[in-house]
Symmetry: C2
Subunit: 458 residues, 2 copies
């Protein structure tokens, strides 16, 4: 026999059982986005390379999957151009399109392209796969799904507030306990400036970001290694030791970075955000985490990160405010803020903690046994009546041995089997077998749909 076919490295099939569980997650996210007034958007899998390149840094450019031009892609190329070429320059001759790398850049491209049709503030959500030519490893795939909600064209911190409400609602519906950490890039800039190293914000925040892992002393070592002078490190000290509630931290901060206008602006933004959170408290704890420093390449204000409380798996959702996303496409001065849910990690958390409801494991609720030609008209009628009542039902297509039909129901986790042989049909009845308990109940044919609906909801 031939070798079994397979999928490309880093990609996955989603079996029916996995799909049902994934849809459970996606449905809750989608419903929540929609309740908060976000509207669905989809963009093509392929984008022009001019849209994608230069948006994700050098490393990102390298990780974009490129699509070979169709037809005769060599036409117009001199043989000599081929002979001495390197991969990178040749790739740009062969290829004009690439696969979507994230949902943010296509969104920015969409907003600029359709700005005349859009009413701002524009709230959209987008749930689609993205592709990255990363080295595949456990939990890291070359095709994975992002679930993004962004609002563009409004500076208001009410947007941040509502995105945190969305996060809270999604995870509380999924029954995942989370910690929501927030910070503000302007505060980080204020800290760096106060310490006398405003130009070293990235090195400083990358080191501070490791506070939880390395402790204060470890962070000091890390800062030294990054060439931050002992003087600056000493001035950073008070920030590393700030403790307490968001309010307490901000009171301390205001004193320390009083000289930085930008830093004070960051604090006042966070105060406003926490005042909104006070008006409608969330289920999850929301903390001001001064060491939170993700996405500093593009975030300009609020930074948000969500971690599962009961499993160490890194961030399962994150986001922030970016002041000039569409500027790269020629539409400057439009502020946006968004969050992105990591569907794959959320899936792993739910599986690990056993949080999927049992019924997501099977979507077909009843199997009608096929007894063959003579009983078929009645079995078709039974099947039709159940479907009419909204019950996902199969009629076994072949009149094979009962044992085989029962094994099928078992393997497919179909909870109920309807047995209506000639004797039952004569009595206008059917026997319903609960595949889990083995219990059999005789039900009149007319009452069958109602009986199954009730059994299903129990």
């Amino acid at each position: 026999m031939a070798q079994k076919p397979s999928v490309p490295r880093g990609t996955r099939d989603f079996s029916p059982a996995e799909m049902l569980r994934r849809n459970y997650i996606f449905d809750i996210i989608r419903r929540t986005f929609s309740i908060y007034g976000y509207l669905p958007l989809e963009t093509p899998a392929m984008e022009n390379l001019s849209t994608l390149l230069g948006k994700y840094g050098e490393e990102g450019d390298r990780l974009i999957f490129r699509i070979l031009n169709s037809g005769d892609f060599l036409s117009g190329l001199e043989p000599s151009a081929l002979a001495g070429a390197d991969s990178a320059s040749l790739a740009s001759r062969f290829s004009e399109k690439g696969l979507r790398y994230d949902l943010t850049v296509p969104f920015a491209r969409y907003v600029v392209q359709h700005r005349d049709e859009i009413s701002f503030p524009f709230r959209r959500y987008q749930i689609q796969p993205v592709w990255r030519a990363d080295k595949p490893q456990k939990g890291r795939y070359r095709e994975f799904f992002q679930c993004d909600a962004d609002v563009i064209g409004s500076d208001s911190l009410l947007n941040e507030f509502e995105l945190i409400r969305i996060i809270d609602r999604v995870f509380s519906e999924l029954k995942i306990n989370v910690l929501i950490n927030v910070n503000n890039r302007k505060i980080l800039a204020g800290i760096a400036a106060t310490a006398g190293a405003g130009d070293r914000i990235t090195d400083i925040t990358v080191a501070i970001d490791k506070l939880e892992k390395l402790g204060s002393e470890g962070v000091r070592q890390e800062l030294l290694q990054r060439g931050i002078t002992p003087d600056v490190i000493r001035r950073l000290d008070p920030f590393l030791s700030l403790r307490g509630s968001a309010e307490e931290k901000m009171t301390g901060l205001k004193r320390e970075i009083a000289a930085s206008q930008e830093g004070l602006k960051g604090i006042s933004e966070m105060e406003e955000l926490f005042s909104y959170l006070g008006m409608e408290p969330s289920q999850a704890r929301v903390e001001l985490d001064l060491s939170l420093a993700r996405g500093l390449n593009y975030y300009t204000g609020t930074i948000i990160e969500v971690k599962a409380a009961d499993m160490a798996i890194g961030s399962i959702c994150g986001g922030g405010r970016y002041d000039d996303l569409t500027g790269i496409f020629g539409l400057p001065g439009v502020s946006g803020v968004g969050v992105s849910f990591g569907a794959d990690r959320i899936y792993d958390v739910m599986l690990h903690l056993g949080l999927f409801p049992e019924q997501t494991g099977a979507s077909t609720e009843a199997l009608v046994i096929n007894f063959g030609r003579d009983e078929l008209p009645e079995q078709i009628k039974i099947t039709a009546a159940l479907r009419e009542a909204g019950i996902a039902t199969e009629l076994f297509p072949d009149a094979v041995r009962l044992k085989k039909q029962f094994s099928y129901a078992d393997a497919q986790h179909i909870p109920l089997v309807i047995i209506a042989g000639s004797e039952e049909i004569k009595a206008s009845q059917a026997t319903v077998r609960n595949m889990k308990t083995g219990k059999q109940t005789t039900v009149s044919l007319s009452a069958l749909p109602e009986f199954i609906s009730e059994a299903k909801n129990r």
Copy 2:
């Protein structure tokens, strides 16, 4: 200003308004598949070229989008290999993966790869985009969606019957009047054999397929042009003139092709299928159309085609039985049957005939006016209460002029606007403005969610 960015030729963005309409179609198709016991499956956008190539004919191979190997794809290639190469042979050195061209081949690959985990008969549905490097034109895209349901591992014609029931239910829920035409490849083979040209089945059926367009005389000319001898054409004559119901046609056919075992098998299959259709009649007319000859490369039994009755747009759904789909991947002898809904054409039909329900145009149901800081706590409360009641609600994020907030509601087709300024709040009331009629109603804050829910369902 820079040039507006755009999407690659033949691809599309789906705006929120389009997404809501598309999801209306997808939801009905998905729900129907599920009620009939089909389970969701998804496969990766990329497949190995070894999976894709050679499955769609020479033309198909040419239309597959290929993905450039990541990293240094030139490594191991001699410069001399580059200099003299043509596009096709070079492509195979640079590229090991391609984008999914349809959903059927990935499904066959999945079944073979996972055959030890699958219980047969395996019913799956799959709704995903596919990509083809076709020349874009009106109604033909390089990225488009297919909605497939297939059952594999059962010969029973009950499967065909149920797929026709699915077609009938989907289009009746979408309110599209359709004609469902069926035929059987074995009958076509029987006709060709009876006419003495069994080896010319493709030429004969391609010509007969034009009966509706060209009439009997036109078909005779077409057959002549294809090199079919006048003798054979004369013997085809009785088939071209068969009229009447499926039963009448089959009675006539049985007489004409009595000598073809294969042809008689085809007729008996169709008789069985029509007997099932008699047990549970469909809303749409199901006809035996002897000129239906689609997919002859792979269909081996039943052939199904669906056309909109009220708009000339070609086939909007089609399918059939294939006896050896998984054979190409090393698992022979497994019969399958499936149908595929063409989402893009269905969308066009619905738009053209005005069949989308009005509410698919907007998903956000209420906008709460933002009066600024002082009233904000109350407005956050109102917004939260509406969302709690399942009403998709926006709180305008900025306290800008009322006029601007109303224009936004208008542009976004948000039907209801909630006005709760300081006066209203003092009286524990809000004013609800119906944006369509302009009618304003004063409602107590506690009754607001119920009022909006009722207004929404009216």
